[in-house]
Symmetry: C2
Subunit: 214 residues, 2 copies
DNA sequence: TAGATTGTTAATCGATTAACAATC
DNA sequence: TAGATTGTTAATCGATTAACAATC
């Protein structure tokens, strides 16, 4: 999945802008300049203006940005106006954590199904959604509109399951398995590799200790 | 926490090299050239060689890289040779998911404590580690060697807890709360913002749909 | 030795920052 | 109007890729 013109570096920053604007909105702040926002967020004002102007001119000279308006517009850009049907494959702790993450629904991510191999979980319900057995997955996906599949299963099953999902129409995968999925170009994959994040942390600890001759 | 000279862009790629080399090792592959590795990993051979040469010359002209040796060296760079004592604050699904993630121990991340506010979890044990109540946290941290604290608590408590941890000697935080922690420069923070990851996925879906006039 | 492949320098590309004219 | 702040162009900085001499 390659991209039109806007770099993923910019995209990765949008949710953070969105979060800060949401907080400002809650705090009753009506408008904000790129300069004030830049101080809060620890980025340059220039970067904020450059990033936003990839999508249009949301501000007004001499005034700044209307918080509510900008918040809404970034939400639109991020696709949070539309609903997304999501299923979770793997009802282990991580899968359940995602399933219970209530804030999802607020943003239009609607939990449609949870799947696992463990028969003891059959019929257990999370936020009103029953855990189904894996052998139902194929027909479920084929017969329901599924926008996003979150994969919280062991890495040795991930590729196989992902292929099957894609075969049956799923076009976006949120991948928590420790593997790089090999999928057609028209499938969008977002990886969350927790162990890699932890290793990056570990690296930075080592570097710090070295510098300070622990 | 700023960095010596090696960019975080490079650091972020190291765990991925490490993963691929681990797989090659398991597969019994003895040596590999930057070119072959680049094809497997979908990066340029040039980038691999540049990245590695930030840390030293691990290869040999005409031969390539010894898989076992390179794997070990990257492990050292990432600090996986030393043990890291880790505690988890917040024993919800996400906290439990991390606690149960057995592969951590293999990499030298040793679970020393789990904390939660919920009295119903008091004394419950995960992988031999009892869940303790939050009011014990301060003295636990003060009296035990804690290298990393994983924060899997709601965002409104995160800042306060993080401050307390740092006050009591914790120098590295793996932050899952949806907030940017404001901590001294000598504290290392690694953020995992799942909602931002999901929004990035959502953005890419929207973009794809637009391009194909859904 | 000839062939292969690294380590490293140089060239290119992209992203960030600075500057400022436009304009509210 | 004067002041403030954007949108946008230009300058800088950093990261990636290409090229190739060194060398195993």
């Amino acid at each position: 999945m390659e991209d039109r013109g806007i770099s993923q570096a910019v995209i990765r920053r949008l949710p953070r802008y969105y979060r800060y604007l949401g907080e400002l909105l809650e705090g009753g702040v009506e408008r904000i300049s790129s300069n004030d926002l830049s101080k809060r967020m620890n980025v340059t004002a220039s970067q904020i203006r450059q990033d936003l102007n990839n999508f249009g001119g949301f501000g007004q000279q001499g005034y700044g940005y209307n918080v509510k308006y900008l918040y809404t517009e970034i939400g639109k850009i991020l696709g949070l106006e539309e609903d997304h049907n999501i299923i979770i494959i793997g009802a282990g702790n991580l899968g359940q954590a995602l399933a219970n993450y209530a804030a999802f629904e607020k943003r239009g991510f609607i939990l449609k199904g949870i799947f696992d191999v463990n028969p003891r979980l059959a019929g257990v319900t999370i936020r009103g959604v029953p855990i189904r057995m894996m052998d139902e997955l194929r027909s479920f996906v084929a017969n329901n509109e599924v926008d996003i599949a979150a994969l919280t299963i062991p890495k040795d099953k991930a590729e196989e399951v992902a292929d099957m999902l894609v075969e049956n129409g799923v076009r976006a995968i949120w991948n928590f398995a420790h593997i790089d999925l090999n999928l057609p170009d028209n499938v969008i994959v977002e990886n969350v590799h927790l162990s890699e994040s932890l290793m990056q942390l570990s690296y930075n600890i080592s570097r710090y200790n070295e510098e300070h001759q622990k």
